[in-house]
């Protein structure tokens, strides 16, 4: 268990590509930190710099009290689980798990004890004599985990470890990872592009885009108070609905339509003028009797059983409303929609799309 500190970290490749642009982060000992973002956002590069697999162009990485910029990967007291497992194909499962310990010249008895313990914890004892090619994807994933666990490192690094598993297995392994982290209490840095994994696993989520941290906060805080339009769009599925428009006289008028809706505390202090309004699909509700924001025509309906996603067009763009599974809607039906009070998000219209801080819940 150790802290990890990133100070103004940069990575520029020889090709000139600036993958990571000044990342600073204090990771607490024992924290489960998730780096999430679209592909090419710099999350994997950041992880690989922490692992020592990529050189640091500028800035500093500290594990515990030690600056590790120039420390070999094997001496950083870390273990890593790779997306494609990276099991040694010529070694048995037992030898795969023991490899790192043997490289460190640990006594034979200790190695056997640790490997057996880890194998028991992951219920892969029966696989110890096999080779990687004789294992299923889920089994390989467990072995890769086991190889990391036996090392008893200060920090675990995970590089999209679940992305090669099928959906069912992924959910199962996700729960197992969470359990494992609670048992071991080791610091975890976990890279994924999957926002569900990020939300469910992370004590804290760091959302990156184009080499820069967009927001770092607890999962629900990010969900409730996205710092900008990028974060708001990335976290949450289906994605948040955005409506460009203008603020005037305490109301928001949506461009390209005659819809206008009253603003509350979320717009406090916002000057009149252009803005982007964000509403999550679940914050749109069917207005039974009360005043509705707009009556929309549903054009696509997606039933998933416990909920129904209804798509509608407003001002020329597609939007989604999330309804309970029991509500009967058909393509073509009209639905009067209202917004849950206090559920509006306001963003600036520029590229950055900063959230207006008046949003309080």
């Amino acid at each position: 268990m150790a802290t990890v500190t990133l100070a103004n970290l940069h990575k520029r490749y020889d090709s000139g590509f600036h993958a990571v642009r000044g990342i600073s982060l204090d990771i607490r000992a024992g924290e489960f930190l998730v780096l999430v973002g679209p592909s090419g956002c710099g999350k994997s590069t950041t992880l690989r710099m922490i692992a020592g697999l990529e050189d640091v162009t500028d800035g500093e990485i500290r594990i515990g009290d030690r600056r590790v910029n120039d420390v070999a990967p094997g001496d950083r007291d870390i273990a890593m689980v790779f997306q494609n497992y990276a099991l040694y194909p010529h070694l048995t499962v037992r030898d795969n798990m023991a490899f790192g310990l043997r490289m460190r010249r640990m006594a034979r008895g200790d190695i056997d004890r640790r490997v057996n313990e880890a194998a028991a914890a992951l219920s892969i004892e029966s696989l110890l004599g096999r080779r990687p090619r004789e294992l299923s994807g889920g089994q390989r994933q467990r072995v890769a985990l086991g190889r990391a666990i036996v090392r008893e490192p200060a920090v675990f690094l995970f590089d999209e470890p679940l992305s090669n598993l099928d959906a069912k297995l992924r959910v199962q392994m996700r729960a197992e990872l969470a359990r494992l982290h609670r048992q071991l209490g080791t610091t975890v840095i976990y890279v994924t592009h999957d926002q569900v994994e990020a939300m469910t696993l992370g004590d804290r989520i760091v959302l990156m885009n184009q080499g820069v941290i967009q927001q770092a906060d607890e999962p629900l805080a990010i969900y409730r108070r996205p710092a900008n339009r990028f974060v708001a769009a990335f976290i949450g599925s289906p994605t948040m609905n955005f409506f460009p428009g203008r603020i005037a006289g305490g109301r928001f008028a949506i461009d390209g339509s005659d819809v206008s809706l009253p603003l509350g505390a979320e717009a406090a202090g916002h000057p009149a003028g252009p803005a982007v309004l964000g509403i999550r699909p679940e914050d749109l509700v069917v207005a039974a009797d009360g005043p509705s924001m707009a009556t929309v025509t549903i054009d696509v309906v997606e039933h998933t059983g416990h909920e129904t996603l209804a798509h509608f067009m407003l001002a020329g763009t597609d939007h989604v409303v999330r309804l309970a599974g029991g509500i009967a809607v058909r393509p073509g039906s009209s639905l009067p929609l209202a917004v849950r009070p206090g559920a509006l998000h306001l963003f600036s219209t520029d590229d950055e799309g900063r959230a207006w801080p008046g949003v309080q819940r």
């Binding site: 790779f82 990276a86 790192g100 090619r133």
Partner: protein, 276 residues
């Protein structure tokens, strides 16, 4: 699915024809080597002639410097194989894994050397070897053979390393290996099929080469097997019996080596290590 009987029969018939084509010349050589005297042609159709004798074989070992030639060939071929494997495995790794200035240029230069026929390189290389005082030495021939076999081997190894996922070395380095240890403990074991091919190719290049050897080795004591065997074929009387017997003996090691290593030549060990 079980195939119909006539397809099976047809398949075997075709295969038998090919086997016959492949082994007929070899059987002929065996037959000549067993005939007494130097009867190249014979009206006898028997593979083992009625008056068969091992005289030619005995003669090779007792009256001819066959063992000396065998020793020369073994020393040179083994030397070429060892240096070939050592240099190709390391150079190929560098070309596969590192991006350095001149990487492309060097790789193309290596490839370019393959465009010239060996006979064209004969004179310049001979001049070089003569200047180094290596004429009539094992080392001279080894330098020559290594230089001609290495380009192919380097490319071959580079191609092989390219199929081994770099994530394996990264995992090894995180497990505490240095770059070299990762190469030694993880990459090389996985590259065994490539190493075997490289070794075979190097060995074969040296074992059966004639033209270059004829230039470098001028003293009969330093002859390699192909040179020595060619000596049995003179302008007036060729000693076909010795020639045939020596040919058979020369091919035995090569065939053996191929049989032993054949499983490596078709085996893909990396399957299943990582999911692509």
């Amino acid at each position: 699915m079980k195939e119909p009987l006539r397809i099976t029969l047809l398949r075997h018939a075709v295969l038998l024809v090919f086997v016959a084509i492949a082994i007929y010349p070899v059987l002929n050589v065996v037959s000549i080597s067993l005939r007494p005297g130097d009867r190249l042609r014979s009206t006898d159709l028997a593979i083992i002639p009625a008056d068969w004798t091992l005289a030619s074989y005995r003669n090779l070992f007792t009256e001819q410097p066959f063992l000396r030639w065998l020793g020369n060939s073994l020393v040179v071929s083994t030397g070429v194989t060892l240096t070939g494997v050592a240099l190709a495995s390391t150079a190929g790794y560098a070309f596969s894994r590192f991006r350095f200035v001149g990487r492309r240029a060097t790789m193309l230069a290596i490839l370019t050397t393959q465009m010239f026929p060996a006979t064209m390189l004969l004179l310049p290389l001979y001049v070089l070897i003569a200047a180094l005082g290596l004429v009539n030495t094992w080392l001279g021939l080894m330098v020559f053979y290594t230089a001609t076999a290495l380009p192919f081997c380097v490319w071959q190894m580079k191609g092989f390393y390219d199929t081994i996922p770099p994530a394996l070395e990264e995992a090894a380095r995180i497990d505490g290996c240095s770059r070299f240890q990762a190469f030694w403990h993880v990459v090389l074991p996985l590259a065994t099929p490539g190493l075997v091919i490289t070794a075979l190719f190097s060995f074969m290049t040296a074992w059966s080469e004639y033209i270059v050897a004829a230039q470098v080795m001028q003293d009969e004591q330093m002859f390699t097997l192909p040179l020595g065997i060619k000596g049995f074929q003179a302008s007036l009387s060729s000693q076909w019996g010795l020639y045939a017997a020596a040919s058979i003996l020369v091919s035995i090691p090569v065939v053996t080596v191929f049989l032993v290593f054949s499983r490596y030549l078709v085996n893909g060990l990396t399957v299943g290590s990582v999911k692509e």
